[in-house]
């Protein structure tokens, strides 16, 4: 039984069947990549996992509990964090403040009117945030205005914001999309480091095969809203169905 179990999920947008009968099982402490050509339904699937979309039929279970019908913030509190295709950070705030917010969010769990505490006096939260920044090598940038950083740094910060919450499942939506080669390699290194150091399950949606094959333990190939195959990277590489879906070759 995996930590994330998707069973028989269908999603239709008007005349388009975006997902049809998707089954997916993500095992704990593995990196599971979901690949597929454009329009395969990868992002739709991810949005169904985080509560942005609700599937028409089927079930999504996280750690034995259904996530369907819950709001994104409730699903986050269950232990699922998400990295976006374009980094979503608090651009007007400093790097340190960006990391402090998820710390407080996890501590409080929901709305709390902490109007008389002082942020800088919350030692436990400050230590936690600083430790996280150290882990991702951003301590020297902690007072920087986060919007003014490079794309790679923003991605790094967004990962730090997710990781500081100690999620059980980290969802990554094309983490290297639109990045320069150097930034892509940095991101791969960072993800490898995270994988080694932490007990974390990751589900990655990715276009870049280089990224997928250097990280994933399991790969699911989606095409036209249906999973084609699920296997290890080695087996996927030579799989005729995958080549067909990607390259249009006759098998």
């Amino acid at each position: 039984m995996g930590i994330l179990e998707v069973k028989g999920v269908n999603k239709r947008f008007g005349g388009l069947q975006a997902l049809s009968n998707v089954n997916l099982s993500v095992q704990e402490n593995t990196v599971h990549a979901i690949i597929g050509p454009n329009g395969a339904g990868k992002s739709t699937l991810l949005n169904c996992l985080v509560g942005k979309l609700i599937p028409d039929t089927g079930s999504v279970m996280f750690d034995g509990q259904s996530v369907l019908g819950r709001k994104p913030h409730e699903i986050n509190q269950m232990g699922i964090s998400r990295v976006f295709q374009t980094p979503e950070i608090f651009g007007d705030l400093t790097v340190l403040e960006n990391v402090l917010i998820p710390c407080f969010a996890r501590r409080d769990g929901a709305f709390r009117l902490h109007a008389f505490e002082t942020v800088s006096a919350e030692k436990e939260m400050m230590d936690k945030a600083m430790q996280m920044l150290e882990d991702v090598n951003m301590v020297s940038k902690r007072h920087m205005h986060s919007a003014s950083m490079s794309r790679g740094d923003k991605r790094r910060l967004e990962m730090a914001m997710c990781l500081v919450q100690e999620p059980r499942l980290l969802l990554l939506d094309e983490p290297t999309a639109g990045m320069a080669r150097a930034d892509t390699n940095n991101t791969i290194d960072l993800l490898k480091e995270i994988k080694e150091k932490r007990d974390i399950t990751m589900a990655i949606i990715e276009h870049d095969m280089h990224v997928v094959f250097s990280l994933a333990d399991r790969i699911t190939v989606l095409a036209q809203g249906t999973p084609l195959v699920e296997d290890t990277p080695e087996n996927i590489k030579g799989h005729p169905k995958v080549r067909e879906a990607y390259l249009g070759e006759a098998a």
């Binding site: 913030h73 709390r112 109007a115 006096a121």
Partner: protein, 405 residues
């Protein structure tokens, strides 16, 4: 000290000093001199400075931190005023229960309006708040006449019950507002040479409350709650995927700022016990937006400065009429005098709005951070002159300005 960092303690001390020494600071020109008309140190105007300062501080907690532009905050001010006057009519002339009731009623009122309006954001939110405020204004003006006394405005009469006080004063007139026997209107006048300084009891009550309100806002700005409000302003999507729902935070900010507005309204009625529907009109709501933007949105001191500026213009510039202008330019030849008066005329007296408008445009275009940004730029200019080298900006990342400096 007081749960604040050293820099904030200094800022609070400066605000307290300015507030308590205002009768001196605002009266720099000797009595009877040409410039005496620029003196703003009379009780009525000083009270207005401080009350609108409180109003703007509260508004800034909503607009400055969360970015939600409410266009209906005058409704809460008006509700606060009506509540306070009712307290004077029914209970006693003591200002404390009146102010407490106005805060509570404005808080409840803003809870209802905020609950509905905060379902939308951006321009739709602004329009919803504007609609509610105009609705309140029209109701107060017509349908709710039994409570608000319609267009005449709510006033005290000799027939009011005042169960804990007297219906009539000792001399048979309507009693005046007071704080445990200290009359709000009582003023101590100090003659020092050619100068006249007025110390008004009501003003000092307002000033003490201003300092307390400022302190409270400062704590909110520095708190985890304040941090979340700023998070709402910059990226609600991220906040949602960080495990928090933005709605309760924005609603709390809305109610807090509504209570500040209620406090301001209650104080206004405490200084002068009458309340009219025009206090709720959209122009009044717009004024507090102007004050906040002019002073510096999201800064602590900005809204107070903005409130002071606008009220100063409204009361001082509007008093300069053609006679005064002719007096100023009397030394010049006749033709030149008339020309100058002709040029200056549209900007003073009834035209004070024009000067204010031009100033507002200049601030928004050249100093988007308001007067506070102007101050910061000046300070930076002087600091640069002090130490021209040794600043290795290339090897140190630019430090983000901390909010509310």
């Amino acid at each position: 000290m007081l749960g604040l960092e050293k820099k904030d303690v200094t800022l609070l001390a400066v605000v307290a000093l300015l507030a308590f020494a205002a009768p001196f600071i605002l009266n720099p020109f000797p009595e009877g001199s040409e410039m005496a008309q620029f003196n703003a140190g009379y009780p009525d105007l000083m009270q207005r400075f401080v009350i609108f300062g409180i109003f703007a501080i509260g508004y800034n907690i909503l607009f400055g931190l969360t970015g939600y532009l409410s266009f209906g905050h005058a409704a809460f001010l008006g509700v606060g005023s009506y509540s306070a006057v009712w307290m004077f009519k029914l209970l006693s002339m003591n200002v404390i229960p009146a102010i407490i009731l106005s805060i509570i009623v404005a808080g409840l009122f803003s809870l209802v309006i905020g609950f509905v309006s905060l379902r939308r954001s951006g321009i739709y939110f602004s329009i919803l708040t504007l609609a509610f405020a105009q609705m309140s204004f029209n109701l107060a003006y017509s349908v709710l006449t039994p409570i608000t006394n319609g267009e005449t405005g709510l006033q005290l009469t000799l027939n009011d019950p005042r169960i804990l006080g007297a219906s009539t004063g000792a001399d048979g007139s309507i009693p005046v507002t007071s704080l445990f026997g200290i009359e709000m209107r009582s003023t101590y006048e100090m003659h020092a040479g050619a100068w006249l300084f007025q110390f008004n009891a009501g003003y000092y009550v307002c000033a003490i409350i201003l300092v307390a309100a400022f302190y409270l806002a400062m704590r909110i700005f520095r708190s985890p709650f304040g941090l979340m409000l700023r998070a709402v302003k910059t990226n609600q999507t991220r906040l949602n995927y960080t495990g928090l729902n933005a709605r309760p935070y924005t609603l709390a900010a809305f109610v807090i700022s509504g209570m500040y507005a209620g406090l301001a309204g209650g104080l206004m009625a405490s200084m002068d016990p009458l309340a009219g529907a025009d206090r709720m009109q959209w122009t009044a709501s717009g004024e507090v937006v102007l004050m906040t933007i002019l002073g510096g949105t999201g800064t602590l001191l900005g809204p107070v400065l903005g409130a002071g500026f606008i009220k100063y213009f409204e009361n001082i510039f509007s008093k300069i009429n053609d006679n005064v202008l002719h007096g100023w330019f009397a030394a010049l030849p006749d033709g030149l005098e008339d020309t100058l008066v002709f040029i200056v005329h549209p900007f003073v007296g009834k035209g004070w709005n024009m000067t204010l408008g031009l100033m507002f445009m200049a601030v928004v275009i050249f100093l988007p951070g308001g007067l506070m940004e102007g101050g910061q730029r000046l300070a930076k200019l002087f600091r640069k002159k002090d130490k021209p080298s040794g600043d290795d900006s290339e090897h140190h990342p630019k430090q983000a300005p901390h909010v509310a400096e």
